[in-house]
Amino acid sequence: MVCNILADFRLYLHLIAMQLRAQLQYKLNVLIDIVTYLSVTCLEFVPVLIFFGPFPSLLGWTVGEVAMLYAITSMSFGLAELFGAGIDAFDETIRRGEFDRVLLRPVGPFMQVVSSEFRLRRLGRITQGLLVFIFALSLLPGLNWTALKLAVLPIAIVSGALVFIAILLLGATLCFWTIQTTELTNILTYGGREMLSYPLTIYNQGLQRFFLFVVPLAFGTYIPICYLLGRPLPFGLPVEIAFAAPLVALAFALIAGATWRFGVRHYQSTGS
């Protein structure tokens, strides 16, 4: 079991290294891609700044605090885009009939799909996240950093990325039935990222519940950031729940994984 996971991981590294080598054949191209993506994502941040021109705060959140939330959401989404590119492009794999080949190899289908693509250009968004993070820090000098507050940052980023990847996987699974579902997934990924870049409490209760208990994106970013900023959570949730974020994300990912396996079996009986 452990041996298998290790072998799978090594294989993953080999496959990703291959992708990198292919992309780095055109180094200038990659560089331009990353810079372009960075510029686009930085432009996406501008409306936040514009909002805080006339209004000093958003439901009590200052510009620095929203920027912090925005930065962490960006980084986790950027990571998900980077590592989940193969899942994101799965509709293409299905349409081109390449999934048959996946089933003809002695390695698990998920593993092959995840490693089928790795887009260096996605580093642009992660860089934007880092820049916004530095910007947020400069506006929040009063944060009393503790070991736990430091720990909550990677927890937030990794859990958020995991939930985003799980959403991508759910979208990919739908492709077994509908061939093309990118739009539907985009509502949850791009839409979710956009919404979770702002304090959850600005939305109505239904949406809050949705992002807490149905698609737990809020566990990825909002809840850990509340812990960091010392803000109360909606529905009277204890703020320490931030440390349960990886578990919640993992549970959601496992559900997505089970759905995926169900989808693979469906494919094998219909071949469509």
């Binding site: 090594r10 294989l11 080999h14 080598r21 080949r101 089933l103 190899r105 002695p106 390695v107 071949g271």
Partner: protein, 352 residues
């Protein structure tokens, strides 16, 4: 010895939802789908020994791909029993995958943007082949398929024939006992076809690899496979020797000669004002004419091709000569025409 492939009563039905036309129809199809049942494969039984090289032929949509997909575990059969290399393809798909090789003529498994050698190296990790065995196999395949001249070329720049050679190497690096080939010579020129065939014969004879290939090209089957299976509409029509079927239904080859336009005017014409060649050699007859083209049908054994060409060349000024091999569709049509599928119980024609 245990058989390589054993299938009994294999069948696969698909439920195909039919869309109604128009917007309202589209909506109705979502709520109340009109489902059509398609029998892709019906009651197919197969027995293939280790070391055999066997051709699976049939027209488009006959069920060839579906059959191969069920034999590899990609698709779960609706009914029947199947074992490949002693394994159950459905339950032991991944285990089976490391013991078989698959080549799709139209779809490469190589990484498009990378040099061929990178793909071949990466496959070692995908199939977990020990390093020593992999490098031995690679050396052997490089030599047999002459890969060295384009090993460092990105796959997208390879010619179709080179890519096919690369794909064959990729499918054989993990020493599969069984090789499935789906249209391995499609789109290739004569030289490339000959080369692929030669290679397949060599690995079948040398390494004892069992080969199952689907093709449209009767020449593939004739040069490679002692035995063939014909399927149509998901049913097995024929299972037996290739020579027998050629003799019984193989039909005639066609030679299309283009004559000199001036000369052809001098040849006697028939009622439809088309030229008629007289005193043709025995076994050759004119089928059609459309000046300056003339179609001549002749059976394989009546006289060798070069003699017919020489005969024509001695009498007429030949501008061009092309050949048409009997298509598999012709063979199948003849099987139907000759009424060999009489009773329901005699679905397949066995020639032993």
């Amino acid at each position: 010895m245990e058989a390589m492939i054993e299938a009994e009563g294999l069948s696969k039905t698909f439920r195909v939802a039919r869309r109604r036309p128009g917007l309202l129809g589209g909506l109705r199809s979502v709520v109340d789908p009109q489902v059509r049942i398609v029998h892709a494969v019906r009651d197919l039984s197969l027995h293939i020994e280790r070391g055999e090289m066997i051709g699976l032929v049939g027209p488009n949509g006959a069920g060839k791909s579906t059959t191969i997909k069920m034999l590899t575990g990609i698709l779960v059969p609706t009914g029947g029993r199947v074992r490949v290399a002693g394994l159950d393809p459905m339950r032991q798909r991944r285990e089976l995958a490391s013991r078989i090789g698959v080549v799709f003529g139209q779809r490469s498994q190589l990484w498009w943007d990378l040099p061929l050698i990178d793909s071949l190296r990466l496959l070692r990790h995908l199939y977990r082949v020990p390093e020593k065995r992999h490098s031995d196999n690679l050396a052997r395949l490089r030599n047999m398929l002459d890969l060295d001249e384009f090993l460092d070329t990105p796959v997208r720049q390879l010619s179709l024939g080179q890519r096919m050679r690369g794909d064959l190497a990729a499918a054989l690096l993990h020493d599969p006992e069984l090789l499935y080939l789906d249209e391995p010579t499609i789109g290739l020129d004569v030289v490339a076809k000959a080369r692929i065939r030669e290679f397949l014969l060599a690995i079948n004879a040398g390494q004892g690899v069992t080969v199952l290939l689907t093709t449209h090209d009767m020449d593939d089957v004739e040069t490679l496979c002692p035995r063939m299976l014909i399927i149509d509409h998901g049913r097995k029509l024929y299972d037996g020797g290739v020579t027998e079927i050629r003799e019984r239904f193989g039909g005639e080859r066609m030679l299309i000669a283009v004559l000199d336009p001036v000369e052809i005017a001098a040849i006697p014409h028939d009622a439809q004002d088309q030229p008629v060649l007289s005193d043709l050699p025995e076994g050759v007859h004119q089928v059609q004419a459309e000046a300056p083209r003339i179609w001549l049908a002749f059976s394989r054994d009546s006289l060798p091709v070069h003699e017919l060409v020489a005969w024509l060349g001695a009498r007429y000024r030949l501008r061009d000569v092309t050949f048409q091999e009997p298509e598999i569709e012709d063979v199948i049509r003849r099987i139907y025409e000759e009424g060999l599928l009489l009773g329901r119980d005699e679905v397949s024609v066995q020639v032993s």
